[in-house]
Amino acid sequence: MTVYSVIGAGVAGLAVATELTERGATVEIYDPAGPPGPHGCSWWAGGMLAPWCEYENAEEPVLRLGQEAIVWWAAHTEVTRAGTLVVASKRDLPDMRRFARRTEGFVEVDRARVAALEPDLHGFGQGLFFEEEAHLDPRKALQDLYRGLKDKGVTIHKRIAPSGLQNAIDCRGLSAREYLYDLRGVKGEMLVIRCPDVEITRPVRLLHPRMPLYIVPRGEGIYMLGATMIESEDSSRITARSMLELLSAAYALNPAFGEAEVLEIGVDLRPAFPDNLPRIRRLGRTIYANGLYRHGYLLAPALARGVADLALHNTHSEMVDEDRA
């Protein structure tokens, strides 16, 4: 009997394991860190399922494949379909016009509609509303996948994968870079804050010339603030500059965020290929699935499908860029 050994229990590994299991394959998982936790970069994600917003600065597959993600995740964890609201400070309104030009799937909203959608947003006269977008809580999503796999009898080994596995699927993100010559790390920094005084019900993006700043509600007054994108492979610390920019964004949305408690600071490296799109590569007995970049939750379902197609049916999805089995 064929056993597929998934290495890495981040969003890529768990999505791949789930997809394989649901297609009837026998799967085991290796991760020396055990269950999902702060050691993996998908723990720190925003969890936005926002293919239309992301398309503003990404290639076409992100828009197309990302749309499949909402359905996939809804079948495995709690997904909130409340859309995304994009706003800009007055001085950055040209950026909003550009944003609107570069993507689709939104309606323009005026001051009254912004206020109706998010009464606690402060002083934004216009915005873009992406009604079809959704978000999830990444930590809950990882735990739900993990639990689902356990319930289906998938063995999860809390140790390094042995060498010589017959059907390995390496989903280790940046840890696999010695086998993936063109993989790089892109630093991301985020904060988790608590501010019960402000009630925002859906992801809100504040346009910024250098990074997509957003706030994602996690419920009970808790918000995730993200995220920087820095071409650096040092994940040791957040910089003061980044922290200032993240907190200023929250403050700009509503000055009451000035009273927020900072609960967590997250810093990690997103694994990315040169075009920032994920890849599936088969080298010998190992399939590498990697490079989800800032689209871990958005593209993990498509990545998982691609891996399952290759492993089970030898079908090459568009993400497969090399096959030297």
């Binding site: 990404a58 630093k187 820095i230 650096s232 040169p274 075009d275 920032n276």
Partner: protein
Amino acid sequence: MSKEFYGVTLPNPLMLGTAQYPSPAILEEAFRASGASVATVSLRREGAGGTGQTFWKMIEDLGVHVLPNTAGCHTVKEAVTTAHMAREVFDTKWIKLELIGHTDSLQPDVFQLVEAARILSEDGFEVFPYTTEDLIVGERLLEAGCEVLMPWGAPIGSGRGLNNIYALRAMRAEFPDVPLVVDAGIGLPSHAAAAMELGFDAVLLNTAVARAGDPVQMARAMMAAVEAGQAAHEADPIEARDMAEASTPVIGKAFLS
């Protein structure tokens, strides 16, 4: 005749920044498609501490001249430290010296700029100062050891083009032998061409290409524009005049009269 930048003759007058592209793959294609001869790279923005290894390696692999910058620095000390880091990482004496003096306009602080330029020049750096179009500041920068001046066209990232053509023209006239680069504010190829028509020696831009819907296409357009502007300048354009001047003789306005 193209001037030398610290002894280097550039094959063409387009310098491109490397920030804000949708992906490194698109950045690379923009360089290859346009043939831009210089790549500026920000150390401070892209990870202090010499840690952007993969990204920086990719920039080096473009095979163009690398011009590290001190973007985001607000003090002499910060800029000098960043310049030293850049020299180590990229093994080059070139440094684009940027000292921001105003948060909203990102206007250079020319006082600190001159001071930092002197320190770095004395330390063997080849400084490309990002400055305003002020002639006296330009003079002081040359005295401090700079052999290139880079006045702004308009505030960084604003895409407004050449805000003060009169002053840029005066600068060209004042420093006929100094390589001059319009740095910042370019939004359209016509802006870049206009700078070259004024007799500038190169144009440095980033946002206009990186944030265009199709950065590769825009990079090509910018190269075409700077080459057109340069050729036009060398061709000695005609003077503008108030009245029409027919290019062929007109009956009634006889040459006999």
